[in-house]
Symmetry: C2
Subunit: 293 residues, 2 copies
Amino acid sequence: MKTYLDCIPCFFRQVLEGARFSGASLKQQKMVIDELARRLPGVSLDCCPPEIARIGCAILKKLNPRKDPYLKVKQKSNRLALAQLEKLKNRVAHSKDRLLKAVELAIAGNIIDFGAKNNLNVEIELKKILAQEDKQVRNKSIFHYREFKRALKGAEKILILGDNAGETVFDRILIEEIKMLRPEADIFYAVKSGPIINDALPEDAIACGIDKLARIIPNGSDAPGTILSLCSREFIKIYNKADLVISKGQGNFESLSQEKRPVFFLFMVKCPVVAENSGCRMGDMVLLYNLSK
Amino acid sequence: MKTYLDCIPCFFRQVLEGARFSGASLKQQKMVIDELARRLPGVSLDCCPPEIARIGCAILKKLNPRKDPYLKVKQKSNRLALAQLEKLKNRVAHSKDRLLKAVELAIAGNIIDFGAKNNLNVEIELKKILAQEDKQVRNKSIFHYREFKRALKGAEKILILGDNAGETVFDRILIEEIKMLRPEADIFYAVKSGPIINDALPEDAIACGIDKLARIIPNGSDAPGTILSLCSREFIKIYNKADLVISKGQGNFESLSQEKRPVFFLFMVKCPVVAENSGCRMGDMVLLYNLSK
């Protein structure tokens, strides 16, 4: 999807929150904002939001080039989500449709997103996921589950585009279900190649035990999404050959929504622009198949 | 109060919403955003938010210099609020403390603010005011009513700094109460001298019947607040001589909060920055006396 003018206030918010998260001084925070302001008029809105968000992230990285400000928060997210693993697995085990429950949990896990909301309390969000999931309070305006099941049936090469650390635990549960249904399939789990917000890196996928279930592949880029022109050849090869692509999160949706190849997008709607673009509402759980209809 | 870095995303939102409200094309909307982005790095955050918001408003005015895009909305706000006048007066008449009720209503009327929220439905907001006011759901974290009553007692020259069109009807009710308590006092009602968002102009004050109760004075500026350095000498003279200044709305608070002279600020908290600065919470009804303690 292209960038909306409404994304622009949000880029400033993101870069400001990111600067604060990195421990920047007030003066540095102002510098970061000013640099983004200087660069924005030259940027075309034809590119997708993660491409512009990347400019902000690059400005932030100059503040402290070697540090990963979200390292601790990612480790904490993994740890807290892992502590819920057995409970989550139990939910799947006791549900009428195991795959459906695993898909729902994988979407619910997408709430752990520091790009959309920086002052996130992962512990509280996890509790909310479990409570809301109990009550089914989340709306599912677009939920192409039948198409998903059908696509899964014949799939031999399955690629999951991961999103955030911690959310990886929820993805692990989905992978376990997929493996039960497709024990012979090759499963790939793509992560970012360099730190960007709280997006999962190879070490996060490993910490959440995904290495025992799937082949973890860095996508070659540190964009907060999957911008194909920035990805490695190895990743592109797998992406092109996969007969089922499961894309997690808003960033991946924003960067791949106009793809011609079939993709299943699993995400929570966390911003009004994505809501409008996807035809959903804020807070919705979405399972969107781009080639449906 | 000075401008917070958190105000910057909001300036972009305001200017974008203002451009849309003015019927600007997508290309014009982008031009407006880009121009604000180019100008922001040169602006010091030591000035108050309305001073920076004014830059955005000036950019917007270049789009359509002769038009007042909020004209219809202001007229509609006046009309809708006037339709509630008898009901509101009745509430005052049937309350235990008439002045208190009038003050509360004057604050509640401050919800009609297109600067804080552009897609405002005045009709719905008016209904909410009446309903919420019934249930007393609004929090009053700071409410210097005793000081206000005391200041009113001896006041001979009273200056009210108006805020938005429509809200003027609520101010009228307060002025009527004040006149009953201080029949001899000179009452001045300040409005903006040129169109700015939905801020009240002389014609709005007249449409709401304030001319029969007070002397309407344009403040000499079209800033969305009261920036003294931009106001007329005539206004400043009245401002300096007044023994009671009642300032309505966030914009006036943002521009006058550091004043040394006594001012009573009446407003609804509609942004987190003002909430932090005033020590209140979002949605609070505030009656703040700057010289208390």
